[in-house]
Symmetry: C2
Subunit: 77 residues, 2 copies
Amino acid sequence: MNKSIFYHAGCPVCVSAEQEIIGLIGENNVEIVHLGDQSGRIAEAENAGVQSVPALVTPTGNVLHINFGASIADVKG
Amino acid sequence: MNKSIFYHAGCPVCVSAEQEIIGLIGENNVEIVHLGDQSGRIAEAENAGVQSVPALVTPTGNVLHINFGASIADVKG
């Protein structure tokens, strides 16, 4: 399996998510990129479809944006 | 390792994320819960800290909300 790439920017949510991702899929299966420190890779992230951080680009090329989105209240309605 | 739980509500983003999560951590390591079909489990999800779907509750009890969040433009600034 190719590696996933986890893009983040050092925020507390990012660091927490990073630890979870590493725990779930193994640190050998994911490359961690800090876009604050490695701004030269922002274009690469954008080209991969990253719209927010933290985000995980999977080996299949899909992007999982990890964040708070719509309220679960919407599911109840 | 205990199983993770992936909560979703059948939206296209949810289904795509589900396939990625299964591919990354293995279908034997994650329980899939469709809150639209299993509304009796919404309270369980809320108690776990789920605020939006799709979300992955990890074996350590943390919640990864998978969605579009803040713009990557903020990282550039």
